[in-house]
Symmetry: C2
Subunit: 239 residues, 2 copies
């Protein structure tokens, strides 16, 4: 008996280990199955719910074009918002699914309460990036028009999405031309010190060093600029 | 002269006032024109840029349906996300433009860093509301699936959009059924005290008192629930 009992115990332990491994394997298989195939979930004993999520690729296929972020960056007054809206006008007329995020619909909404501290500026761009990512996931070509002066912030957004989904559009324009335009009177206020840390005056603008598209808004017309962007989108099989 | 000069002065002052009034009137007209007709903006002397924004109504017209927020609310485990995704599956198959916002795409993105304090919970719902509003503006039927236990937070989102654009879907399910399902093991953790302030256990859930749609997820199948929501959308000329 002294010899047999340990043997039985070992056998039982070994059998137990096999059962546990099998359960673990099946759980793993189940989780994989859940994630890959979005199968059935039994929420109660008598109701079976199917969990299905429409994938980005399905949306893109139905829209007939890929989705991406067109990230317009440049000085205040360079024409980012105007250009983004002019582009969207064309995309809309061509039947594409598109949207523009700019100060008009973000500043007093999602980013309400954010100020001009370094922390807040970062958070401002981060949130816009995250929302743009959601629009990309929804199958939309989303144009964002914000100064976004810091490389680091822009690159962080680039890393949020897949390769090729972040298209940086540098709306280049001399400070002189922007200040001459001064469509919102902000440069005047910045010069008088009424606005502290104003990009180009009292705060730096970091030029992109590898923007996918560069537009010279003090030399090109809007039509020319929009055409250049549309050409890029076609050449890169986005539209 | 003593009589004539004051008269001339008065006349000049009067003429000046007329000119000022005319300028003010024209400025007002110009501003109205700008807002209503989105006219031309001369950014530099030689380039005229057209500012045009695609309006929500234009997007809705092209999509062939209105846009709205379907705000799914209810206890953890009630089936909000499952139901939202099942509905979207149907909307997508019917060719509608739709999207789902839920924990999967919001928690670790836009709302990263937010905790469970009262302040953070409010901000969590506020941001989701603002993003949902952007999707409505983009012409999308957007389904949101978050517990959103407080009336005040939900009503604040309702006020963000136009009348009829916020459709509250109460996914009603007894605490017992939710706790029995416990798909993420959260109730277990809440009971053991591992999760503090868990809705239904240690934190209240405020039932909607005028939800547009009520679904009893412990009695109705997903198919029945989805059909009820589709019927509502048809009856109210959303789709």
């Amino acid at each position: 008996m002294d010899l047999i009992l340990p043997k039985v115990r070992d056998t039982l332990l070994f059998a137990g280990a096999i059962v546990e491994a099998k359960i673990a394997y099946q759980s793993l298989f189940f989780l994989t199955y859940m994630n890959l195939f979005k199968g059935e979930i039994a929420l109660t004993n008598n109701i079976v719910w199917h969990e299905t999520t429409i994938k980005k690729e399905e949306r893109q296929e139905r829209n007939g074009h890929k989705s991406a972020i067109l990230w317009f960056t440049g000085l205040s007054g360079a024409g980012k918002s105007t250009l983004a809206n002019a582009l969207e006008q064309q995309l809309f007329q061509q039947g594409k699914t598109s949207y523009v995020l700019d100060g008009d619909n973000v500043r007093h909404g999602l980013n309400k309460g954010l100020g001009f501290s370094d922390e807040d500026r970062k958070e401002n761009i981060r949130r816009i990036g995250e929302v743009a990512k959601l629009f990309v996931d929804a199958g939309t070509i989303v144009c964002t028009a914000f100064i976004s002066p810091f490389k680091e912030d822009r690159n962080r957004v680039r890393e949020l999405v897949e390769e090729g989904e972040f298209i940086e559009v540098y709306v280049r324009c001399s400070l002189e031309a922007c200040e001459q335009r001064d469509p919102k009177g902000l440069y005047k206020k910045a010069r008088s010190g009424e606005i502290p840390e104003f990009t180009g005056i009292s705060s730096p603008y970091e030029e992109p060093n590898a923007a996918e598209i560069i537009v010279d808004s003090d030399k090109q017309t809007v039509e020319e600029s929009v055409q250049a962007i549309l050409d890029y989108l076609k050449d890169n099989n986005i539209i």
